[in-house]
Symmetry: C2
């Protein structure tokens, strides 16, 4: 299965109204605090890798995970290796990484509110120091990728937004472009 997604800047007040009118179901709301690390041996921005500690809080409970994302496998597939393990203590993991010579380069903090709308997941993100965004997402097998992208585009339009405004840059990259203060 492939993830097909589109991200845009959007005001949330209008989106909330439209989602309610369309009968979308609210799935959940979480806050995510993602700290990205750089290695002592190489520059992950250059090698297209990422090492992240995520602290996700849901209903007052925080769960920490360590994620490694490898470089893109092939030019066209947009597939990358991703490996993840839960941690009992994200702060300890951070301090172990510090001791091993890794450095925290950026922290992305956001509140996510997720809705389900006719087979699509609509995520309203409020990202600290960046603003408000919406992400529309679905899953598809390889042969249905084109149809899935069109479906995502139609959902974007049905929410009063223009697919041409799609942002392909990650929050992490947007913060770095903005010259965001390093952690």
């Amino acid at each position: 299965m492939y993830e097909v997604e589109m991200k845009l800047r959007a005001e949330h007040e209008r989106l909330h109204e439209r989602l309610e009118r369309r009968g979308a179901n609210r799935i959940d709301a979480v806050t995510q605090r993602d700290t990205y690390y750089d290695a002592p041996t190489r520059d992950f921005a250059e090698t297209d890798e990422a090492l992240r500690i995520r602290r996700e809080t849901r209903d007052g409970e925080t769960r920490a995970t360590l994620t490694y994302k490898g470089p893109l496998v092939g030019e066209t597939s947009k597939t990358r290796e991703e490996r993840e393990t839960d941690l009992s203590d994200g702060d300890v993991m951070g301090s172990i990484l510090d001791s091993l010579g890794f450095s925290a380069v950026e922290t992305v903090e956001k509140r996510r509110e997720r809705f389900s709308l006719e087979g699509y997941t609509v995520t309203l993100d409020t990202v600290t120091d960046l603003g408000t965004f919406v992400e529309i997402e679905t899953e598809a097998i390889e042969s249905d990728l084109d149809a899935a992208r069109k479906g995502v585009g139609r959902t974007v339009e049905s929410l009063g937004l223009d697919p041409a405004d799609e942002i392909r840059t990650s929050y992490l990259e947007l913060l770095i472009e903005d010259g965001h203060d390093r952690e």
Copy 2:
């Protein structure tokens, strides 16, 4: 609190008999598989650090932890910084370390059977490729360290062993000295 411990080579059959006769209580039995890693940037044997993934199996359930041990703090205290977090998936952690340039240098595998004997913990270790050992351990505050060491020595003698045979080398170092095959 400080740990006061003494480790010796010992046959377990005789120790089992003596422990039973002395009324020792069996606490538990676990297997531990410890994989030690070396960093891409430095030689932990030289810097006196350690990075370890432990997989501990108890009653059929395996728990994985990542542990970082820093160098000794001061020459005399024998105290080192130790930081540990549980992992939901030890194999994923191992493969993330691989991707980050760390290499597994040695694996120490042992079966531990622990007994409680008059305030002391008596651990019978069967270490793969090294043999059988016993560790006698107690905890003490700083002012009681001498008395605690004497108590540990007396317990060693009461089990029919000679405190002069104490081994101060870790299982990891013993395996490396033996030219144990690297993982």
